[in-house]
């Protein structure tokens, strides 16, 4: 179990191998990256701010909820903060389980809840101006489908 908020980059291979164990049959690993110039956005950089202390406790709460829903062997959540350039890694969620479905579902669940509950904020740089990103209704909808 580990939740990390950090400025430095992470190595997906190292993180994946750290979750391998005799009881694990599959690891679902999602990596979010900065979408930049190649998209319609024209974003040249983004800066991530967070609420130290609350961020970690929210991520731990989300992980605990995932563990209640699926039989998970291990979970790793890493989120970077600070200024990031297009193509750079922002977030990684990895769920390890005996079987693939639990790993896939848990990784998606954790990402959906992270998007709406973990106190991070993105400011995007575009044409030399910096603007705070607005929350998306589609993220609320992605979270809501796990209810009931």
């Amino acid at each position: 179990m580990s939740v990390r908020v950090q400025t430095e980059d992470f190595d997906v291979g190292v993180e994946s191998r750290a979750l391998q164990a005799e009881t694990v049959g599959g690891i679902a690993l999602f990596v979010g990256t900065v979408r930049g110039l190649s998209s319609d956005d024209g974003v040249t950089a983004m800066t991530l701010e967070h609420f130290p202390g609350m961020t970690e406790s929210e991520l731990e709460r989300i992980e605990a909820e995932a563990r209640q829903r699926w039989p998970l062997e291990d979970v790793t959540i890493i989120h970077r903060v600070g200024r990031l350039l297009p193509g750079e890694q922002i977030v990684m969620v990895a769920a390890a389980s005996a079987h693939r479905q639990a790993a896939f579902d848990a990784a998606q669940f954790i990402m959906d809840f992270l998007k709406t509950d973990a106190p991070f904020w993105k400011a995007e740089e575009r044409d030399g101006k910096t603007n705070w990103v607005e929350a998306k209704d589609s993220d609320d909808a992605a979270r809501a489908r796990w209810n009931g």
Binding site: G32, L48, E49, H50, F51, G53, M54, S57, H79, I90, V91, M111, L114, K115, T116, D117, A118, P119, F120, W121, K122, A123, W132, V133, E134, A135, D139
Partner: protein, 93 residues
């Protein structure tokens, strides 16, 4: 040596993202105003502090609240020693 002011009921108030920019501060310590028992009671006292505070807290529907680092709302109780945070809907991931 200790003055009586140090024993007054204090509250930490924190702001993040564009709310921090509007208020011009990420954290301030205020004396818990008389009659304030929840977050909703506190808001008018904060908006009176500056034009920036008023702008930041203008639309409370667009603001999320945490008391002692757990999500709350305008009905969440506040008392001396609490940390109350205001921030926009989150955009990580």
């Amino acid at each position: 040596m200790t003055s009586t002011t140090e024993t007054r009921a204090n509250l930490s108030v924190r702001y993040f993202a564009w709310m921090r920019e509007h208020t011009g501060t990420d954290m301030e310590t205020i004396t818990l105003p008389a009659g304030v028992v929840n977050v909703g009671d506190l808001v008018p006292h904060l908006t009176a502090m500056s034009d920036g505070h008023a702008l930041a807290l203008k639309n409370m529907k667009a603001v999320r609240v945490a008391v002692n680092r757990a999500y709350g709302d305008l009905d969440t109780p506040v008392s001396a020693g609490d940390e109350v945070a205001f921030f926009p809907p989150v955009t990580g991931g």
